[in-house]
């Protein structure tokens, strides 16, 4: 469902060119749970951002469901991001001024759907995340794991084609991390395509496939046994 062909990304740092990504080609199938690993600065986030349409490649092509993500206008890209992609970040990136349920509703609020119409769905999602009691809390009143679960609910509310997570547990302890991974693994089992950047091979072990980046290039591509039985 996602196809990357010879994608490259250059940044200009002053006069110096930084190749964050070089010539990466990759195909992600629907239902896959792909982990991206690699040392710091190897271009993992850059790749994820390209997949999610947060950024555009400086060379090469990216397609989602056959439609190009490269060379399209910012607005078109934004709409794809809004409707087809769910993001989960390391630092949760919830809006501190909004309550949990409002944060979850945000992507649909951007669509212009009235809050009252979205709220039941958001509450349901939060309940599924085990946060039924916490819907009206603001992020500062939540623990890290809870915040991340709110973020997952937010990513899921649009029923995205692909869920992207950038070190989703980088800020959480092992136990809390495990709960998050179990959630993701459950979602994947139900058919959700997931792409996750991680430094943690325990996390990668939940997935179906692991790729490793080195210096912006694809170094390894390991297919793991398969979904849990």
């Amino acid at each position: 469902m996602i196809e990357i062909r010879n994608a490259g990304k250059k940044y200009l740092q002053g006069a110096r060119e930084v190749h964050a990504l070089r010539n990466v080609s990759l195909r992600i199938k629907s239902g896959e749970f792909l982990s991206i690993m690699g040392p710091s600065g190897s271009g993992k986030s850059t790749l994820l951002n390209l997949i999610g349409g947060l950024d555009q490649p400086t060379s090469g092509e990216i397609f989602m469901d056959g439609r190009p993500l490269h060379g399209i206008s910012d607005d078109e890209l934004t709409l794809i991001r809004r409707r087809r992609v769910g993001f989960i970040f390391q630092f949760f990136n919830l809006l501190p001024i909004l309550t949990a349920v409002e944060n979850v509703c945000l992507p649909l609020l951007l669509e212009g759907i009235p809050f009252t119409r979205i709220k039941p769905k958001a509450v349901l999602l939060l309940e599924q995340m085990g946060l039924g009691e916490r819907t009206e809390h603001r992020p500062e009143q939540l623990s890290g794991g809870e915040m991340q679960r709110v973020a997952i609910a937010r990513a899921l509310i649009t029923e995205p084609a692909v869920l992207l997570a950038d070190e989703p547990t980088g800020n959480l302890d092992s136990h809390t991390s495990e709960e998050i991974f179990l959630l993701l693994s459950n979602l994947n089992e139900k058919g959700q395509t997931i792409v996750m950047v991680t430094h943690d091979s325990k996390a990668a072990a939940y997935g179906t496939r692991v790729i490793t980046l080195k210096d912006g290039a694809l170094a390894e591509d390991v297919s793991l046994g398969g979904a849990p039985s």
Partner: protein, 182 residues
């Protein structure tokens, strides 16, 4: 050494005969540790000699009597003492993969780096299997002793992760030092 205490631990919960003891052992720690009946019985003999275990005979129809093993008072004391003492011995550094490293080609890091990657992939796959087991275990929480089983699997995962980390470090250090030689 730990086999002895594992068996004492199992008998401390319940009196069992040899066969039951083996299946209980498999269920609890079988993931990492497999013993055959011979090993079970020889350990039991040794424990009896040390007065840590004793047995009763139970008559059976048309079959030889079953020996039902139970823990003695002395056995219980020694088990408790063992349980409360931290483990001093660290995991063995003697590792088959390490031996391969010792004999690697100092001129050309290529083959060993390849090997490292293969090894990592292997570990990853192993971790994936463990994880899958754990996940399915999680789905049947009513299963007896799922907690200890899970913890054991976690231990396995953490060790494998450590190995992967170590291998990654090996690769980057090898590349850093040997890369500049060539």
């Amino acid at each position: 050494m730990s086999v002895k205490f594992a068996m004492l631990g199992i008998l401390a919960e319940k009196n069992l005969h040899g066969y039951e003891l083996k299946s209980s052992f498999d269920e609890k720690v079988g993931e990492f540790w497999s013993l055959n009946y011979g090993q079970i019985y020889s350990t039991l003999d040794r424990l009896e000699k040390e007065d840590l275990v004793t047995h009763d005979r139970q008559a059976q129809d048309r079959r030889p009597d079953k020996k039902i093993y139970s823990i003695t008072g002395k056995g219980r004391t020694e088990l408790e003492e063992w349980l409360s003492t931290p483990v001093h011995k660290v995991r063995a550094l003697r590792d088959e993969f390490f031996i391969k490293l010792v004999f690697m080609d100092r001129k050309d890091p290529g083959p060993i780096l390849d090997l490292i990657e293969k090894q990592k992939a292997h570990y990853l796959k192993q971790m994936n299997r463990l994880t899958n087991r754990k996940v399915s275990l999680k789905k049947r929480p009513e299963h007896a002793d799922s907690l200890t089983a899970e913890l054991l699997m976690d231990a396995g995962l953490f060790h494998a992760e450590a190995d992967i980390k170590w291998l990654t470090l090996c690769a980057s250090k090898i590349k850093a030092t040997m890369g500049e030689n060539t």
